[in-house]
Structure formats: C-alpha cells, structure tokens
C-alpha cells in the first residue's frame, strides 16, 4: 500500500504543479473585446469578432499572474460590411500590414478585493505604448470573469491618418472594453 500512496501523492503534486503552469482556458463564447469611439459626439460601441486571450491567474498569488490578448484588427465589426472594409484600410487599422493588435502584461498587482492593477504593453499598427488599467475579477459558475476598460488615444497609434487626424469628427479618445471568461 505504501508505494501506491507515495505514487498517488506524487501524481497529485505533479498535477497541481502542472495546473499552475498552464494558463486558464478562455471561453470565447463568453468573452468579448470591443471599442467605444465617438463620432460627432455620438458614442458607438463595436466588437472585435476575432481575438484570443491567455490569462494565467492564481487567486492565491495574483502578483504572479500573466495576461496576453491578441486581436485580429480586420474583425472590427461596425455593423456594415462596407464600413468594416474601410476600417481595415491603411488610414485606420492597416490590417494588411498589421493584422494583429496585442496586449502583453508586464505586471499585475492586487488592488483590493476582486481588483487588480494591470500594466503592460499595447501594440497596435506597429506602435507600442505602456498602459495601465484596473481589472476586476469575479467567479461566475466555476469560471473566472475578468473585466476592464482601457482608455487610449487613437492618434498615439496612428489610427486615423490624413484628414482623420482631425479629432473634431472622430474623437482621439477610444475606450477598449473587454470581458474574458476563463476556467482552469
């Protein structure tokens, strides 16, 4: 019996060590990334249809967490195929040259119950900027739900070239909203 018990213990320890190293599994159907922009003061929220998120989060050791998100820029959907094609063009996302936008965390710090402060590098259209934003975490049906908003300045990423640099039509500030549902 003793060798069997030892083996069992080793398996459990091994499995849990493995579990800590493997990031949470993202439930894409219950996750979303969208951007809210303002044109002539009209707020419009539109989703990115294709993205992947990888979150490595242990509630017991939040500071050891890691997160990365990759978004397919051409999947931005403002509800009309013609408009979507426009937004993928050079003046906006330039999806042909920069198909992906990404975020990679550099540090995640606990900031009270269910709250984290996330810092990291946001890369869009070939430009990288350091960003910091608050993130909330809550458990929902055995899964972890991460939610947050990240305000950015679109011109810092050269999104909207030429006449679109004029922010009186489309505001410089854009809020990226996300909700990622993930389970171990």
């Amino acid at each position: 019996m003793k060798p069997f018990k030892a083996l069992l213990l080793a398996t459990v320890i091994g499995a849990s060590a493995l579990a800590a190293a493997v990031p949470l599994k993202t439930d894409t159907a219950k996750s979303s990334v969208s951007a809210v922009f303002k044109q002539m003061n009209v707020p419009v929220e539109a989703p990115f249809r294709t993205f992947s998120a990888s979150i490595d989060y242990d509630a017991a050791k939040p500071a050891a967490s890691k997160a990365s998100v990759e978004i397919t820029t051409a999947s931005f959907d403002i509800g009309d195929p013609m408009y979507n094609k426009e937004v993928a063009k050079k003046e906006w996302f330039n999806s042909a040259q920069f198909p992906k936008a990404s975020f990679v965390s550099t540090s995640i710090a606990p900031a009270g119950a269910g709250k984290l402060n996330v810092s990291g590098k946001l890369t869009m259209k070939g430009r990288t900027a350091d960003v910091t934003f608050p993130l909330t975490v809550k458990a929902e049906g055995g899964k972890q739900v991460f939610e947050g908003q990240l305000p950015i300045k679109r011109l810092a990423f050269n999104i909207g070239e030429g006449e679109w640099k004029d922010t009186s039509m489309v505001a410089d500030e854009v809020v990226i909203k996300f909700r990622v549902t993930a389970a171990p």
């Binding site: 002539m40 003061n41 009209v42 707020p43 419009v44 509800g79 009309d80 013609m82 039509m169």
Partner: protein, 182 residues
C-alpha cells in the same frame, strides 16, 4: 376665402423646407462611397434635421387637433375633397413614420442620435443586425412614398392655383395675396 391660421402656415412651410432638405441630404450622403468626413457630417446633419421635422410635425398635429382648417372652395367636387383629405392624412402619418423609421434604423445600426452633437436622445433599443436591415428598407421606401405624395400634393396645389383658380392654394401661402385679403 379664409386662410389657415398663422401657426399652421408657419409650421407647414418649415416642415416643407425640412422635408425637402432632409430628403436631399439623405440622397447625397448615401451616394458617398466608403467613410468620408463629408459622409459622417451629412449623416449627422440628416439625423438632426429628421428629429427637427418630427418635433415640428408633433406641434403641427397638436395645433391641427384644436384648429379646424379653413373650408375648401364651394365648387370643389366631393371626390376631390375626399382625395385631398385622404392625402393629407397620409402626409401626416408619413411626417411621423419617416423620421421614426430613420431614428430606429440608426439605433439598430448601433448609432444613437445626439441632437446637434449636444443632446443625447433616448436609446430605446440596442444594435440589432436583422432589424437594421429591415428598417433600412422601411426607411427608404417610406421616403419614396413620401416623395411621391409630396409631388402629388404640390401638383394638386398648382392645379387649384392655375387651373381651378379657386383660392385653395392661397389659404396656405406665406403672404396673403391682395386679392384674397383686400
């Protein structure tokens, strides 16, 4: 012949200008391909103008409910009175249906209306791709119907002015003609 009341005349002509301007802007903006500054600007102006017409139409309907319009010319046959009355009812319905279909089309497309870029108007529903496609067609065809009925309305008015010479059109002209009001 008695004329329409001053508020009725003012509202009629403001709405006439509003409908022609908004309709024209609608044709121009939908003709622009892609997304341009001009297209965004015209589209917002079109929405503000449409909301303005809707508000004026509401005022006008209220006024109409409490103020009877002046009599038709005595020699007007019954079928013409019936046709004129029917056309006026349809025009009233469309003065509401056209801007409302546009408003909900905009909401279904996920674009709320911010009046003059300052006053956010009620977001009565969220984005809905299916309704958006439906309302786009509804808004377009209601407009075509309105354009046809306005043309008929104008032709009939000029028939009264030039053929019948019965003073019916003068009841609504902005300035009373000396002959009518000596």
């Amino acid at each position: 012949m008695r004329r329409y009341t001053l508020p009725a005349i003012v509202l009629h002509w403001l709405i006439a200008i509003g409908i022609i301007g908004t309709f024209t802007l609608g044709l121009v903006m939908t003709d622009i391909q892609g997304i341009t500054m001009a297209k965004l600007r015209y589209t917002n102006w079109h929405k503000w103008a449409g909301v303005t017409v809707l508000a004026l139409a509401a005022l006008r309907l209220l006024w109409r409910l409490f103020n009877h319009p002046p009599q038709y010319a005595d020699q007007m046959p019954a079928w013409q009175r019936g046709a004129a009355h029917g056309l006026h009812i349809l025009l009233y319905v469309l003065m509401f249906a056209v801007p409302l279909s546009g408003y909900f089309f905009s909401l279904a497309a996920g674009f709320p209306v911010v009046y003059f870029g300052e006053i956010p108007l009620p977001v009565l529903m969220g984005p809905d791709p299916e309704l958006r496609a439906l309302l786009r067609g509804v808004h377009y065809w209601l407009n075509m119907l309105l354009a046809g009925l306005v043309a008929l309305h104008v032709l009939a008015a000029f028939k009264h002015l030039l053929v019948d010479r019965d003073g019916v059109m003068q009841r609504m002209l902005p300035i009373p003609t000396p002959k009518e009001n000596p």
